[in-house]
């Protein structure tokens, strides 16, 4: 078992002929992901790497191949439309790698995706991987190892760092999910924690947060109230300078600055293990797997 993707995932790649899309489509195919279709308007009828059929629209691709998951590598100004196109075509999991989406675009995309019964991961995220089965996005496959630790993170490279250290210590992962660092994203920590709690393969969870916002505090409350599985947390940005103030409104609405100290306190209050350094995950997770 795993969360969100496994060896039955049928993936379509939006922007498969672009620079990033083609590079990562190849990597995903090499990893063993079932890449069933690509979409690039105007290139319908061609094949990617001679094997993967390309379609003009997501609708055509889904009709012809039964793709149930999409990964998006289109430029930021087109990404909102690409996400909604996938949702409208009936894709159930949409993973948006693209960085730089205007946040106001996301205020329209989020309700649209929900109304179509789809899940969006990202934008501005590294995607996800279920080691040994399927990878959707850009997480390097070779640093992962099949196992029982669920990994969820707001950051890309920090995820790689921690996953790599776990793997080198012989600790495998059930699934690794990067939810992305944008202010509005489709899937949050709680969505992933709930999925890991329900996944029989996952026995412990590593969670990497960052300063800003209140997602981590809400996740800590969820962990305390709804989870039996152990969770180890880390917050990046403990030494970051206080952000440049965003007028009065930011302070009014959050009632707090979303500092690392606040988040770490919330982790302690939820009875979580707290990693002070990325390398600390190894010992803290090991102790909780035993």
């Amino acid at each position: 078992m795993s969360i969100f993707i496994d060896n039955r995932t049928k993936l379509l790649v939006q922007g498969i002929t672009g620079r990033d899309g083609s590079f990562h489509a190849k990597q995903m195919i090499e990893y063993g992901t079932q890449v069933v279709a690509g979409v690039t308007p105007g290139k319908g009828g061609q094949h990617f790497e001679g094997t993967v059929p390309i379609f003009d629209t997501v609708y055509d691709a889904v009709q012809a191949t039964g793709a149930n998951t999409s990964v998006i590598y289109v430029p930021p100004m087109f990404a909102a439309d690409a996400i909604m196109e996938a949702a409208a075509a009936g894709v159930k999991l949409i993973v948006c790698i693209t960085e730089g989406l205007p946040v106001l675009d996301m205020t329209r995309v989020d309700p649209y995706v929900k109304e179509h019964g789809a899940r969006l991961l990202g934008p501005n995220c590294p995607g996800l991987i279920t080691p040994g089965q399927s990878k959707v996005g850009i997480i390097p496959g070779r640093i992962c190892l099949p196992g029982n630790v669920g990994v969820v993170s707001r950051s890309g490279t920090l995820t790689y760092e921690v996953v790599n250290q776990l793997t080198q210590a012989g600790i495998g992962q059930s699934s690794c999910v990067g939810i992305g660092g944008d202010p509005i994203n489709g899937t949050n920590f709680i969505d992933c924690l709930a999925a890991f709690e329900a996944d029989p393969q996952t026995t412990a969870i590593a969670m990497m947060g960052e300063i800003g916002g209140t997602d981590e505090q809400e996740a800590a409350t969820f962990i305390k109230e709804h989870m039996k599985k152990p969770v180890v947390g880390f917050i990046a940005g403990q030494t970051a300078p206080p952000g440049r103030r965003m007028g009065h409104a930011g302070a009014i609405i959050s009632g707090s600055a979303g500092t690392a100290a606040e988040k770490i306190d919330a982790f302690h209050a939820a009875g979580m293990g707290v990693a002070k350094r990325p390398v600390d995950f190894v010992q803290l997770i090991k102790a909780r797997l035993a």
């Binding site: 930021p76 100004m77 730089g100 989406l101 205007p102 946040v103 106001l104 996301m106 205020t107 329209r108 989020d110 309700p111 649209y112 590294p126 850009i138 997480i139 390097p140 640093i143 993170s153 707001r154 950051s155 890309g156 490279t157 920090l158 995820t159 790689y160 760092e161 790599n164 660092g181 202010p183 509005i184 990497m208 960052e210 300063i211 916002g213 209140t214 997602d215 880390f234 990046a236 940005g237 403990q238 030494t239 970051a240 300078p241 440049r244 103030r245 965003m246 007028g247 009065h248 409104a249 930011g250 302070a251 009014i252 609405i253 009632g255 002070k276 350094r277 990325p278 390398v279």
Partner: protein, 381 residues
């Protein structure tokens, strides 16, 4: 990107919001002639990207043009929160019966722009929020429909009992929302929204923060950027497509990815050092970025050691190695460098570095400890 008050007010005025007449001056003489032209008592207001301008002495009331010249002389060149004031806004002073607050911010929790309005506006609005939260009304807007007239009217009545004034307020909120959406804001606020003794509403101060991701499709907004109000190294970094924030420490950090960059800074601190900067070279494989990063970091005289922490996911570590070699050949380093890299093409990268007299490790903790040690030694020397 932050806009100056005068820029925000121009955008609000274009959307129809009533704004007191005024203009920008860069010299005391200009301030005097603007006050002369306005023919009213004026406010002279420092234009810097900092809150608390009034409390810092950067906002003054002036009865006469001569007074405006004198106050502008004092304000121009003063420093507010480390920012030098280079422009003042000279604007007609409004008569104040009461002050309200009207703001919109993109809210992570509701995933919508949220209006916040309060009849208790002014400079202490945060205290109002903290001590008497019932005095603030929140209203999330579904951007697919926009701010509906009845929603605006409901907020208008929350602020003012008199229907004529409530209608004016509702209209201003619709105009503020239009300006917010048209400029691609993450925040827009009018504080105070002043009610004059003759029952007219006027926006006495305005603030807008633009979502940087909007700038590509809004060149007219991007053109409002005032580079003179930013640290030169940060301007240089942005033009090189790097994310850079200058700090006060002496360990210069070059890292792939924001999360790992923050974690690296934390680790520098954990081992007793102080980071000189936050610098994310992003996920791309471009040696040019490394060259630019090194130029920006070495221009800071505080830096006593340079630390590279590279996790090669998309980034090819051999590209980073080549960037380091190229940059240091052109401009030999005067401070020690510690390189940690792991991931894609690691063996090749290590070989490139070794062939050029550098050493590299793949242990993040060991590298950070070493960098802190060298920086401390360099600072003592």
């Amino acid at each position: 990107m932050n806009l100056h008050e005068y820029q925000a007010k121009e955008l609000l005025r274009a959307a129809g919001v009533p704004i007191p007449a005024g203009d920008v001056a860069t010299t005391p003489e200009q301030a005097e002639s603007i006050a002369q032209r306005l023919g009213t008592a004026v406010m002279v207001k420092a234009q810097v990207h900092a809150g608390g301008r009034g409390k810092a002495g950067g906002v003054k009331f002036c009865k006469t043009p001569a007074d405006a010249k004198e106050k502008a002389t004092a304000i121009l060149g003063m420093t507010i929160k480390e920012l030098v004031v280079e422009k003042v806004l000279v604007t007609t002073a409004a008569d104040i019966a009461s002050e309200a607050y009207v703001g919109i911010i993109v809210d992570r929790a509701t995933k919508k722009p949220v209006f916040m309005v309060s009849a208790a506006g002014g400079i202490d609005i945060e205290d109002v929020a903290a001590s008497t939260p019932e005095k603030i009304h929140y209203h999330p807007v579904d951007t697919r429909y926009g701010l509906l007239p009845f929603e605006a009217m409901r907020m208008g009545f929350f602020l003012f009992k008199d229907v004529k004034v409530a209608r004016q307020a509702a209209k201003i909120m619709s105009q503020l929302y239009t300006a917010f959406m048209n400029a691609g804001c993450s925040l827009a606020e009018i504080n105070p929204l002043v009610l004059t003794p003759d029952n007219q509403l006027v926006a006495v101060d305005g603030k807008m923060v633009i979502d940087d991701n909007e700038l590509d499709r809004r060149p007219e907004i991007a053109a409002l950027r005032d580079e003179s109000s930013e640290a030169p190294s940060e301007v240089d970094a942005r033009n090189a497509n790097l994310t850079f924030i200058k700090l006060d420490g002496n360990v210069g950090c070059v890292v792939t990815g924001a999360g790992l960059a923050m974690a690296t800074m934390d680790l520098v601190k954990y081992y007793g050092g102080d980071p000189a900067n936050f610098l994310d070279i992003g996920g791309s494989s471009n040696p040019e970025k490394v060259v630019n990063a090194l130029r920006i970091i070495t221009s800071d005289p505080n830096v006593k050691c340079i630390l590279f922490n590279i996790f090669g996911g998309i980034t090819r570590t051999d590209d980073v190695a080549n960037g380091i070699v190229t940059a240091t050949k052109a401009n030999p380093l005067t401070v020690p460098i510690v390189i940690r890299l792991t991931g894609t093409n690691e063996e090749l990268a290590v070989k490139i570095l070794q062939d050029n007299g550098f050493s590299a490790s793949n242990d993040m903790d060991a590298a950070v400890q070493r960098a802190v040690e060298l920086a401390t030694k360099g600072a003592a020397a």
